[in-house]
Amino acid sequence: MDQQLTPYTTEAERTAGVRIEPGKRYGFFTDTTVCIGCKACEVACKEWNQLPAEDMSLTGMSYDNTGALSATTWRHVAFIEQVRPAQDHERDDGVPDRWLMMSDVCKHCANAPCLDACPTGAIFRTEFDTVVVQQDICNGCGYCVPACPFGVVAIDDCDGKAHKCTLCYDRLKGGLEPACAKVCPTDSIRFGELSELDAVARERVEELKAQGVEEAYLYGTPDAPGATGGLGRLNAFFLLVDRPEVYNLPSAPTRPSQRIGAALGAGLVAFAGLAAAAVTLLAGTRNGGGR
């Protein structure tokens, strides 16, 4: 493949030190320990992708008034305010009251369930190993929505199509770093090639452990929590310091299409068994059974 499609220095090289080339695998590493909850990523995403604002009311649960990812919200900063009940303050177990923040996003799964489910081919894997919905093909069947193990992709009732993060497919094509990663003031969101991000992430976990943050771990790297059940890996992965569920993530998600064989096979076997029974029950020429 032509390595030098772009002879000049692209913007992503200057802002993220990443040269974007088709055929390589890209993703996000979101280090939640440096997220400050500013939501610049949410805003930058909405701006670049021209996504409309949603419900403007307050959730009343925390500083998170976005609530969840949706068809028109592709980055969502979760706020977890961990304040222990007063009596626990007596115990000195070294765990402080704390705020956890995490900028959630589509995981661009290696074996993406939404792509597995899509019957029209609207959802496809790009040359950057990301997962994108083609709006001109989607017919709004909505099957990708329950397929996603992370509750990411959604149908917009205004246009009747499925929408989710594209990992700024258009920007990548133009040699630009995705909007959220570019705007993130703490580099909590890092964009790059997967092999490089993996190394950075592993180093960061070691660094945190050395600082005494024993609870730090990666979510979504190969063979880690989040990359379970046939998903392979998550191209957008995270560094977490509490259980995944605390961040609204499942510990051990699965690739749903692996259940097709069990359901269909069992169904067909049962059907065949009853058909064999029907042959016996319907056979015979005389009128049986009394009258």
Partner: protein, 347 residues
């Protein structure tokens, strides 16, 4: 880039684990907000699933009848053919109505994707519908001309195809539900397949039995009642199995929700206990009260719809309950060896 399947080493027993200090899952959630999005499916989809099950199994029974004793099962054949051709047309309408961009319905046949029951199911259903219409043509052409004979002969061949694709049409819908992340559907894939297959055969036999009784062919109706009763008994076993497996996978919260209770009432009582009792009484009373057979058949048919509709709604409810999903998505519930398709009783 070509789609690649990334294979990982099979995880250590119980799957990858968190740092030990995080302990076991103790019901944490993110402010009780859903961790999943539910499918948008409403009654159009549950009706479609019910209808394809009914029509698919009816065509299979009719194909068996055609092979065994064509004259005796003339009525069964005719009814199954009309039922399935009308049913598949209605089913296609329901499917298109369910799309959020219905004018692009034809994109369903743009690709064939074996990992998507929505995709390969559309082909199975399309083939079933086409073969059903072909088989129904055989009922419209009487007479002795060469063309009439040809139509009837191809209708008989189509009947076999309709029976085979009918088996697929009435069971792929279980895979459609099981291969999602919706916990209630995902937790018991094998049992769901058994439930849908047994319910399809039961409701088809019950419907054809009603029609035979109506047409005065009591003996055929009696035979079909037996098939319906057998399938219903098998169905009860499958439903109880599904219930147990969902319990084992931590979904009691869903089973005990209003949606879960409604499903049990519809499936176990209306579609299970009531028809079995009615069929048993009918035989015990030496078939002196045909109403009992009719009641049994109607209950089976109603139960077949309530199974699909109730399972769908319990699934939606489960997707909105983060604790149910998080309990289900624990390492101990991971498939142990995903390269093997196990057909035996679930663990």
């Amino acid at each position: 880039m070509k789609a690649v399947t990334v294979r990982t080493r099979s995880p250590a027993a119980g799957g990858p684990s968190l740092p030990a200090r995080h302990g076991r899952y103790r019901g944490e959630t993110y402010y009780d907000r859903p961790a999943l999005k539910a499918a948008h499916w409403d009654w159009t989809v549950s009706s479609y699933i019910f209808l394809t099950g009914l029509a698919g199994a009816a065509q299979a029974i009719a194909a068996i009848g055609q092979a065994l004793d064509r004259d005796r099962y003339r009525g069964v054949l005719r009814n199954a053919r009309f039922l399935s051709s009308i049913g598949s047309a209605v089913g296609a309408g329901l499917l298109i109505a369910d799309l959020k961009t219905p004018k692009r319905f034809y994109n369903m046949l743009r690709i064939l994707r074996p990992t998507s029951p929505m995709s390969f199911g559309s082909y199975i259903f399309g083939a079933f519908g086409g073969l059903s219409w072909l088989s129904a043509l055989g009922e419209l052409r009487s007479g002795r001309g060469r063309l009439a004979r040809l139509v009837r002969r191809s209708a008989d061949v189509a009947q076999v195809g309709a029976g085979l694709t009918g088996a697929g049409a009435s069971t792929y819908t279980a895979a459609l539900m099981a291969s999602t992340s919706t916990p209630f559907w995902a937790a018991a894939p094998r049992w769901l397949g058994l439930q849908f297959a047994t319910s399809a055969v039961a409701s088809a036999a019950a419907t054809l039995s009603l029609a035979e009784r109506w047409g005065g062919r009591t003996d055929n109706s009696r035979r079909l009642d037996r098939l319906a009763a057998l399938a219903t008994a098998a169905h009860l076993v499958a439903s109880l199995g599904a219930r147990r497996q969902r319990h084992d996978k931590g979904l009691d919260e869903v089973s005990e929700s209003p949606q879960g209770r409604r499903l049990e009432l519809g499936d176990l009582v209306i579609g299970g206990a009531v028809p079995l009792a009615a069929y048993a009484l009918h035989r015990l009373t030496r078939e002196r009260a045909p109403a009992l057979s009719v009641v049994g058949s109607l209950a089976v048919i109603a139960g077949g719809f309530l199974l699909r509709h109730g399972t769908m709604n319990a699934g939606h409810a489960s997707a909105r309950k983060p604790r149910a999903y998080f309990r289900f998505a624990q390492p101990e519930n991971l498939p142990r060896d995903r390269s093997v398709i196990r057909l035996g009783p679930p663990r």
